[in-house]
Assembly symmetry: C2
Homo-oligomer: 687 residues x 2
C-alpha cells in the first residue's frame, strides 16, 4: 500500500532506490544465475514479479466504502506520534505497534496516554454531539483505523463513546444529553457500562443488581445483593472510569419492573473511589490488557431520581412507574436496540483485522521460498504451491466479499437509518454478520499464523498477537452461538407469519422465497459455476430448503408436546445451518450489487473471480450441500476442482488484492517486506 | 480429580465439609425452592448431581498408561513449591500457575529458577544416562506433568534434554557421550539446538551455514555466510545456553557432503558470549515467553575435529570423508530419525492440554446456568443445552480416543522399541498423530474458550492462555501440513511397492487393504452405527478408496508429463484427505485394542459410547463420506442424529470422564470449581 499511503515524494524516491537495488537481483533470479552464483537468499520485493492488473485504489474505494481521506489522516496521525511506538526497522521502513511485552498496568497507562493524544488532536470532535450521518460514518472510519493499531485502544474508546455515550444518548433524555454528552466527548467524565455480572452475561434479563426507589428522598438505592451480582468485565472500572451506567432490576413498591439503566458516579475527579462503591480488577487476560476491566459492588448507593435513564420508562417523584411501552418484552428490546452500534463496529473491525493478517501472510508467501520441486532446482515461493494457495486465496476472497456486507456501507447505513420498523432487520443482520465475521476472522488469523510458520508467532509480526487480542469478539456484545440462534428464531417467526397470513416474504432479502425454487443444472461446468445467477440460485435453494426443514422439525417437536422454546433448542443443528445459509446468501447478494456498479473491465473480472471463489468455498467447505442433495456427488467434485482452478486464476492478482486493502505498510509488519533486512545484524538496534 | 489426587485425610475432611454445606442448597434447588426464595445464584458442586457410574481411577490407568505414581509425585512437588506460585483462592483451594502478566525477561528468569528446583529435587536423574525403557517412559511421564504446569518450562527442558541431549546421544559416539551426557543431566552445560535458520525452517537440507575442514589444524571452521543463514528460534540461545549443536553444510576439499551436526560452545561458564559468536534475541512471542529463543551468527568459529557428531559420518584427521551410509538421502534420514522423541512428546502434550481445557470447560458447564426454558423457570445448566453438549462432548470423545494413540503407550513404545526397520513406520505414525493431535488441540482450546465465555479469556482460567502457549505446536518440529503430505507420500510408496511386487500390505495397519472392500449396510440404524465392526469398516473403506483415488490422480498427472514431485503437489486435496483417513483409522484401531482388554461392565459401556461418538463425529464433521459416496444422504442424516443421541447418552458420564483425566484440581482453574467463591470480595486478596 506504499503507493497509496506513503505518497510523500521523499518516500517515493527512497522506495525507488530500494527497488532498483533489487532489480538486478530479480533479473539474475529470473535467469537462475543468482541461485547458482551464491548460496545466499535474497529478498525480492513481490512488486517486481506481480504487476498490478488493475488500480488498487479503485478496489479500496469499494472496500473501505467511505472516508478514505479521513482514514489516511488518522493513520498518519498515529504513525507520526512517538506514543504509537514507531520503530524504524531499516532505512525508510517504520512500523507502529504497541509494546505487548509489558504488564497490564503498563499497557493500561499507555492506552490512556494515547487517548489523551487523540483527544488533543481533535479526533473525537462530534463523536457524541454531532448526530449527522456524515459524522457517524466518519466516527466509524476513524475507530476502524484506531482499532487496526490496537484493540485495547479501540475497545477503551468503544466503552466510553459507544457503550456509555450511546446509553446516555439513547436511553437518556434531554436532561441527560445536556449534562453528559459534551463532557463525555471532552473526557471531563470517563464513562463505563455496567451490564454484565459475574452470574449473568448473555442473559441480561437475569441480572441481580437491585434499584429500589425511595420516594421520601426521591432517590434510587442501587445495591449488589450477593456475590454473583457483582458487575463484571466493566471496561474502565478497574482504573479510570468516573461514571457508569448500571443495569439493574427496578423495584417499585415491591414490584419488579424489570431491567433499567441508571447513572452512578464511581470515582471523584481525582480518581478516588466513591463511598459505598467497591472495585476490584478482573485480572490479566489473553488480550485487551490495555483495557482495565473491573468488578463493581454497590452497597446501597443513593443516586438522584434524575439518574434513571428515562427514554423508555420513568419513575415519577411520587414513585409511580410510567412507560410508553406496556409490554415488558418490547420495553426490554427497545432498551437494547441502540446498542447495535457496538456490534456494527465489532463486525467491521473483524474484517479489517482479517485484512491485516492476509496482507502480511500473502506478502510473506510471495517472498518466502521453501523446497525445490526439481532436484537441485531453485526453491519455490510459498504462494506457488497449490496447497498454500488453497490456504490463503479462499480466505482472501472471503474477506473481500464479507467486507462489502460487514465493513463498507451496508451495515453502517442500516444502523444510521434505523427506524422502529427496521430494528428487527437490523438486529437480524447485525447478529448474523457479527457472528460470521468474527468467527471467520479467528479462522483467518489461525491459518495466516500457521502459513507464516514460526514468524507468525512473533509479536512484531502481528498475526499471532491479533489472535489473542480479537478472540473476545466471538463472545462479547452477544455470544456468537446465541446470536445465530436468534437469527434462526427470527427467520422462523417470518416464516410462520407468512404461512399464517398467506402473504409474501418481504425484507431480509427473503423475497426469493416467494417464487418457485431455483433449478440447479444436472451437469455443472466451470462456466456455470462462475455464473452469478447459478451462485445466487444455489445459495437461495439452500436457504429455502433449510427454512423448510428447520420449521418442519420445530413443528414436529411441538406436535410431540414440546414447548416452542424446547423445540427450538432441539432443532439446533438445522438452526445453525439456516443461520449460516442466511448470512452467506446475504453477503453474496450485497456483493453482487456492488459488483454491478463496477464498469472497468480488469477490475470487474477480478471481482467476478473473487465472488466465484467465495461461492465455491462456501459450498465446498461444508457438508450441507451434499447432505441435503443440493449437489450431486459428481457436481461436488466439479466444485472442488473449481476451487483449485480459481486459486490459479487469482494467484497473479493476490498482491494487488492485498494492496487494495488500504492498510499502510507501517501497520503491517517486517515479514510483509524485506524480512532478511529486518533481521540483519546491522539493524539489530532498531528492533 | 480431588478424589484421586488430594488424597490426604485433611483435604478429604475439608472437602466433605464444603460438600455438606452445599447439600442443603442442592436439595432446595432440586425442589425449586431456592430460586424462588432468593435472587442469588449459588454454586452447586457438580459432584452432587452427577454420581460416578464407574471408578475414574480405572479410566485414568488406561489413559495415562504408565507411571501414575510418578506423575502424582511430580504434580505434588510442583504444587508444594513457592516457585510454582501456589495461590490459595479460598479455603482449601490452591491453584498453581505461572505469572503471565510478566515480561519475557521475568518469565525466562522464573523458568530457569524452576529448572534449578527440579534439578535439586532429582527430577532429571537418568534422563540421559539411563537408556532403559523404564527410565525413558518415566521421563516422558514427568515431562508431561511439567508441561501441564507451563509450556515454557516443558519446552526449555525439551531443548536441553531431547534436542541437545538426544543429538549428543544419537548423532555422537562414545567420546561425546562420556564428555557431555552426565554434565548435561547435571546442568553443568546448558545445551541448545541450532538447526533452523532465518531462511530455512522445514527444509533443513537447505541450511546455509558452512563448516569447512582445516586439515592443518585439524579443526572445523563454522561460518554464517549471510544474513539468511543466521540460526533462528534457537531455544536457550538468547540468555542461558553454553553450548549448541550446529547443523551445517560440510565442505571438504571443495565438495559439499551435506548437512552434519557440530558441537560449538557459545558462552563461557559465567555467561559471557564466546569470541566470534554473535547472539540476538528473537523477541516477544504470543507464548513460550519463558523460553529465550535467540539468533546466532558464527564468524569463522574454529572447533576441534572431535566436535563433529560422527555416528553416521566422520572426517578423518587428514580430511578424508567417511560414512557407513553411502546414499546422501538415507544419511540425512538416519540423521534425523532419533529426533522423533520431540514429536512424540509434543503429541502427548497436545492431548494433555486438551484434557486440561475440557476438564475446566465441562466442570464450568456443569455449574454455570443461563436462561430458562420455561417462562420464569429456573435457569438451565449450560451442559443441559443440546447445542452445548454438541460443542463439548464430541471433543471429550476425541481427546479420549486420541489419548490412547498419542499419549498413552502406543507412540512412546514404538519410539523406544525403534529399529532401523521400524524407523519409517515411526516417522509415518508420529507425523500423522503429531499433526492430528496438535490441530485438534487448537480446535478444542478454541471451542472450550468460547464455551466458557469471557471467563475463558482470563489468564487464571488457563484455557485462553494455553491457546497462545501451544499454538507453536502446529508448526514446530515439523510443520503439520508438510508432515501430513509426507504421510500420504509414504503411503503412496507402500502402494506402489505392493503393486509392483504383487505382494500384500504389511505394517502401518494397512493389512485391511489386502481383503475385499468392506460392505456398508444400505440402511443404517443406531445399533449398526454403534457397532465397532461397522465403524472399522467404514473407516477402512474410506482409507482404501482414498488410497486408490490419490494414487490414480498422481499417476494421471505423471502420465500427462508432470514430474512425480509436481504430481504429488497437484494432488494435495486427496493427499490431505488420505492422511486424515489414515490417522483416524489408526486411532480407532488402537482404541479398539485397549477397549477389548477392559472387562468391567459400566466402564466398558462408557468406552463404547466414547468410541461411537468419536467415529460418528469423524464422519459427520467432514464432507468426505458424502463426497465419495461412502454414505448415502439418508444414512448421513442418521449419523447426524446419532451424534445428538450420543451426546444425551454421554451427558451423565461427562463429569466422571473429565475426573478420570487425572489432572489435579490445582492444575485446573477457579471456574472449574466454586467460581462464585473465587470471585467473592472476601477472597480478593488471594487473587
Amino acid at each position: 500500500m506504499a503507493s497509496l499511503y506513503n505518497s510523500g515524494a521523499d518516500r517515493a524516491a527512497r522506495r525507488a532506490a530500494v527497488l532498483a537495488n533489487h532489480l538486478v537481483q530479480a533479473d539474475q533470479l529470473a535467469t537462475g544465475s543468482l541461485l547458482l552464483a551464491s548460496n545466499c537468499l535474497h529478498y525480492n520485493p513481490p512488486e517486481l514479479t506481480n504487476p498490478a492488473s488493475f488500480n488498487p485504489i479503485h478496489l479500496r474505494q469499494i472496500l473501505d466504502g467511505h472516508h478514505l481521506e479521513a482514514r489516511d489522516w488518522m493513520f498518519k496521525l498515529m504513525e507520526e506520534s512517538p506514543l504509537f511506538c514507531p520503530k524504524c526497522r531499516w532505512e525508510g521502513k517504520v512500523f507502529v505497534a504497541p509494546d505487548y511485552n509489558a504488564t497490564k498496568e503498563q499497557q493500561r497507562e499507555m492506552t490512556m496516554r494515547r487517548i489523551e493524544f487523540l483527544l488533543n488532536n481533535g479526533v473525537f470532535e462530534g463523536w457524541l454531539t454531532d448526530s449527522s450521518a456524515e459524522a457517524t460514518m466518519r466516527k466509524f472510519a476513524l475507530k476502524e483505523c484506531i482499532g487496526i493499531f490496537d484493540h485495547s485502544l479501540g475497545t477503551k474508546l468503544a466503552v466510553h463513546f459507544i457503550l456509555w455515550g450511546s446509553a446516555i444518548k439513547f436511553f437518556g433524555t434531554k436532561i441527560h444529553h445536556d449534562k453528559w454528552l459534551r463532557d463525555t466527548e471532552k473526557y471531563k467524565v470517563l464513562g463505563s457500562f455496567s451490564m454484565t455480572e459475574l452470574g449473568h452475561g448473555s442473559n441480561v434479563r437475569g441480572v441481580e443488581t437491585i434499584a429500589t426507589y425511595d420516594s421520601n428522598k426521591r432517590e434510587f438505592i442501587i445495591n449488589t445483593p450477593c456475590e454473583s451480582a457483582q458487575k463484571y468485565w466493566i471496561g474502565g472500572a478497574a482504573n479510570h472510569a468516573t461514571h457508569t451506567v448500571v443495569f439493574s432490576q427496578l423495584h417499585i413498591n415491591g414490584k419488579n419492573e424489570g431491567v433499567h439503566a441508571f447513572i452512578v458516579q464511581i470515582r471523584d475527579s481525582i480518581g478516588n473511589i466513591c463511598p459505598n462503591i467497591r472495585i476490584a480488577d478482573c485480572g490479566h487476560k489473553i488480550g485487551l490488557n490495555g483495557v482495565d476491566n473491573g468488578r463493581i459492588w454497590f452497597d446501597n448507593v443513593r443516586i438522584p431520581r434524575e439518574n434513571l435513564l428515562n427514554s423508555v420508562a420513568d419513575v415519577l417523584p411520587d414513585g409511580q412507574y410510567v412507560s410508553s411501552i406496556k409490554d415488558p418484552d418490547q420495553r426490554f428490546a427497545a432498551f437494547l436496540s441502540p446498542l447495535t452500534a457496538g456490534r456494527v463496529n465489532i463486525t467491521a473491525m473483524a474484517v479489517y483485522i482479517s485484512k491485516v493478517a492476509l496482507a502480511i501472510a500473502t506478502r510473506y508467501a510471495l517472498s518466502r521460498r521453501a523446497f525445490s520441486v526439481i532436484p537441485n532446482g531453485p526453491e519455490v515461493l510459498l504462494l506457488d504451491y497449490h496447497s498454500h494457495q488453497h490456504r490463503l486465496i479462499p480466505l482472501l476472497a472471503k474477506v473481500y466479499i464479507c467486507a462489502l456486507s460487514c465493513a463498507s456501507n451496508f451495515l453502517k447505513t442500516l444502523y444510521i437509518q434505523r427506524t422502529p420498523e427496521s430494528s428487527k432487520a437490523l438486529h437480524v443482520y447485525s447478529s448474523a454478520l457479527k457472528a460470521t465475521a468474527t468467527w471467520q476472522n479467528m479462522i483467518t488469523l489461525q491459518e495466516c499464523r500457521e502459513a507464516c510458520g514460526g514468524q507468525g508467532l512473533k509479536t512484531e509480526n502481528r498475526i499471532g498477537i491479533l489472535k489473542g487480542e480479537f478472540d473476545v469478539q466471538s463472545t462479547f456484545e452477544g455470544d456468537n452461538n446465541i446470536l445465530m440462534q436468534q437469527v434462526s428464531k427470527a427467520l422462523l417467526a417470518e416464516y410462520v407469519a407468512v404461512q399464517i397470513k398467506q402473504k409474501h416474504f418481504k425484507g431480509l432479502g427473503l423475497e426469493h422465497m416467494n417464487g418457485p425454487a431455483p433449478v440447479i443444472p444436472p451437469v455443472l461446468t466451470s462456466s456455470i459455476l462462475r455464473n452469478a445467477k447459478f451462485q445466487t440460485d444455489i445459495f437461495s435453494l439452500r436457504e429455502r430448503d433449510l427454512f423448510q426443514r428447520f420449521s418442519e422439525e420445530v413443528f414436529r417437536y411441538q406436535a410431540q408436546g414440546e414447548s416452542k422454546e424446547k423445540a427450538l433448542l432441539l432443532s439446533y443443528q438445522l438452526a445453525e445451518e439456516l443461520a449460516r445459509a442466511f448470512a452467506e446468501r446475504t453477503t453474496l447478494q450485497i456483493f453482487l450489487e456492488a459488483e454491478t456498479s463496477v464498469l472497468q473491465a480488469p477490475l470487474k473480472e477480478v471481482l467476478g473471480l473473487l465472488r466465484s471463489m467465495y461461492a465455491m468455498t462456501c459450498i465446498d467447505e461444508v457438508a450441507s450441500f451434499l447432505r441435503y442433495g443440493y449437489l450431486s456427488v459428481d457436481n461436488a467434485a466439479v466444485v472442488r476442482k473449481e476451487v483449485m482452478a480459481l486459486c490459479t486464476d487469482l494467484r497473479p492478482h493476490a498482491l494487488t488484492i492485498v494492496s487494495s486493502f488500504g492498510i499502510p505498510d507501517s501497520f503491517l509488519s517486517p515479514i510483509a517486506f524485506d524480512w532478511i533486512e529486518a533481521n540483519s545484524w546491522s539493524n539489530l538496534s532498531s528492533e
